[in-house]
């Protein structure tokens, strides 16, 4: 339902009260409770213990909650992470279908034990190695669980795996991100995935950059991205939703196309814009997405009002 709208996700550190207590006020669509790379080894045990109570803290503003677990500690992390209120488990550095199957089976058992409807929790393989890239099709089709592809063969860990420096002036992940995107699309799986934007400074907190990134992603048709800083949240949530003009045009296309169908025609122009089967398919998707975003925004507004009244 509303957890399908994840325009902007952000990692939060459950072990840091400053972050976890305030996260809900930032307006994100999704918060990812992290047990992985933002938590040093010595802190992971304590972090596991905090996940369950962090769910309610972080979702006060209507955000969905994901948990990013550790690849080497799946058996320890999953029991602490599969709880009502969690929508998705993120599996870092997924390399093989077997890893997906293992996680899926364990999550199924835990859903039963912990009172979560079986199959509710989505599983997201994060592709951060060359091996994960080449195995992507098998990974995405490994389980019957709802899959959302994330980390499409880009990012920091991918750079270490390939042995390359980041923040150069060309797209180093052109092949890996495209190959992963194609596999996901061919399986009808939605995937997040960015578009190459030259970021020479490596800075992730400038609001102007956020607005620019949102524009670029919007034009490219990308609907989900991870923010590395709270300043990016609002511009991304706003920017990745359809504009009013786009919604109006989509409705026009729909209405026009119905007319075409009735007349046995297949194409026409409205205000110099083509209306045909391609535009119709696009319009349907736009309207669907726009409504989902509006519903999520309403949900977040209600949750926020409730939480603020309680404070």
């Amino acid at each position: 339902m509303t957890h399908r709208v994840a325009r902007c996700t952000m990692f939060v550190t459950p072990t840091n009260p400053r972050f976890i207590d305030k996260a809900w006020t930032r307006g994100g669509d999704v918060y990812i409770l992290d047990i992985e790379d933002s938590i040093p080894l010595a802190e992971k045990a304590r972090c596991r213990g905090l996940i369950r109570e962090s769910i309610a803290k972080a979702n006060k503003g209507g955000a969905s909650i994901y948990v990013r677990i550790n690849k080497p500690f799946v058996d320890a992390d999953l029991p602490c992470s599969v709880w009502p209120g969690v929508d998705r488990i993120m599996l870092p550095k997924t390399d093989t279908a077997a890893e997906m199957q293992y996680a899926h089976d364990l999550i199924t058992e835990l859903e039963k034990e912990h009172g979560v409807p079986v199959g509710y929790i989505e599983l997201s393989p994060m592709i951060e190695t060359a091996l994960g890239v080449v195995n992507i099709y098998e990974i995405l089709s490994a389980t019957p669980r709802k899959i959302w592809s994330m980390g499409g063969g880009t990012g920091y860990d991918m750079a270490v795996n390939l042995g390359i420096e980041m923040f150069v002036d060309f797209d180093q992940y052109a092949y890996t991100s495209s190959y992963v995107a194609l596999a996901a699309m061919s399986l009808g799986i939605e995937s997040s995935g960015g578009v190459f934007v030259h970021n020479p400074t490596g800075r992730v907190d400038q609001r102007e950059d956020a607005i620019k990134e949102a524009e670029i992603l919007h034009a490219a048709g990308v609907r989900q991205i991870t923010a590395l800083h709270p300043n990016f949240i609002e511009p991304l949530c706003t920017g990745l939703a359809p504009t009013q003009a786009e919604m109006t045009w989509a409705q026009t296309v729909l209405d026009t196309y119905q007319g075409l169908l009735l007349a046995g025609e297949s194409m026409t122009e409205v205000n110099g814009q083509v209306v045909d089967c391609y535009e119709y398919a696009r319009a349907v998707k736009t309207l669907e997405w726009g409504r989902a975003c509006a519903e999520k925004d309403q949900f977040k507004a209600k949750a926020l009002a409730r939480a603020q009244a309680a404070v």
Partner: protein
């Protein structure tokens, strides 16, 4: 982190009268020997006699030595060309996994026969056809001997009927290179190659241009390059490695992060960037890479010194 320190490779013919001298003077990390088959009936015998000498000559400067064969004729040629002292075989134009399995089995037999450590001979792929590209993963997975992948750009352009243009903004085979790098990395091997357009012009260029081209190749994911010009070798050796600045930076990262850990911090600032677990991991990996490069350079220096000494003692 790259499995092999092979920043620079040069190709030499076993018939080259100056083989030893060129190999020695090149300072390349690896020499690739190209064979010449005489028209005569007994080319195998001739090669068998030539190869051990050629391998010895090529290794004088401390380089790894490979022999390069066409996949279609390789099975017959391996017998005549594989001898102790070789690091491995470069197979050109492997079409599918079956071909590779045959070659690998042949190497099993030759290692046993010729007192070469079992499994030590590498197979490297030089890709020059659409089929080689499409099947690259399957081929790379067909044998644990697979070491490096490279593309023969001029041959591949011809095979794909891509016009030979050297001034384009985007390289026509950008995605093919990405694929080969990804495949190589996925099987714990590595890829070598030069960036465009130098990879197809293959000419001598000024230092600035060459440095930039090597940096681009490195940033793409290549770990070394076949040097079309001997003059490329020095900058390849210097470019395909963590730089001195990077080493210094990564040492600081490790230090600062360790200190932070002691104080119970998950991440620490350094020059405006946050140093956390992934950054420290990268630092560890790069420092280890730098150490191995230093070791390799040391080996080559020693090989050169030993050569000089043994030449002296002859005089």
């Amino acid at each position: 982190m790259p499995p092999y320190i092979r920043r620079s490779l040069i190709a030499l013919s076993i018939d080259d009268p100056k083989l030893a001298e060129k190999a020695f003077d090149s300072w390349a990390d690896a020499i690739v020997l190209d064979i010449v088959k005489q028209a005569a009936q007994d080319w195998q015998q001739t090669l068998k006699a030539q190869m051990p000498l050629a391998i010895a000559a090529a290794s004088r400067g401390g380089a790894e030595v490979f022999v390069r064969l066409n996949a279609q004729t390789a099975y017959a040629e391996l017998d005549a060309t594989v001898f102790a002292g070789l690091a491995g075989v470069v197979l050109v134009g492997v079409a599918d996994a079956a071909e590779l399995v045959l070659a690998s089995a042949k190497l099993d037999a030759l290692e046993l026969e010729r007192g070469i450590l079992q499994g030590s001979l590498e197979i490297d792929l030089e890709i020059n056809t659409a089929q080689g590209v499409w099947n690259s993963l399957e081929i790379a997975r067909a044998s644990s001997r697979i070491g490096t992948l490279t593309i023969n750009e001029q041959a591949l352009y011809q095979n794909l009927d891509i016009p030979f243009e050297t001034t384009l903004e985007v390289e026509p085979i950008e995605f093919i290179k990405g694929q080969i790098i990804t495949v190589a990395t996925s099987v714990n091997g590595q890829a070598q190659g030069m960036s465009y357009p130098l990879c197809i012009t293959q000419k001598e260029v000024d230092e600035t241009t060459l440095k930039k081209a090597i940096l681009r190749a490195r940033d793409t994911g290549f770990k070394g390059a076949l040097c079309a010009q001997p003059s490329w070798v020095k900058l390849c050796n210097e470019g395909f490695r963590p730089s001195a600045d990077e080493v210094e930076y990564y040492k600081e990262v490790r230090q600062v992060f360790a200190e932070g850990l002691k104080r119970g911090l998950a991440s620490v600032p350094l020059n405006g960037k946050m140093i956390d677990v992934p950054v420290d991991l990268r630092a560890e990996v790069y420092l280890e890479w730098a150490d191995r490069v230093a070791l390799r350079d040391q080996q080559k220096i020693q090989a050169h010194q030993q050569q000089a000494i043994s030449l002296q003692s002859l005089n």
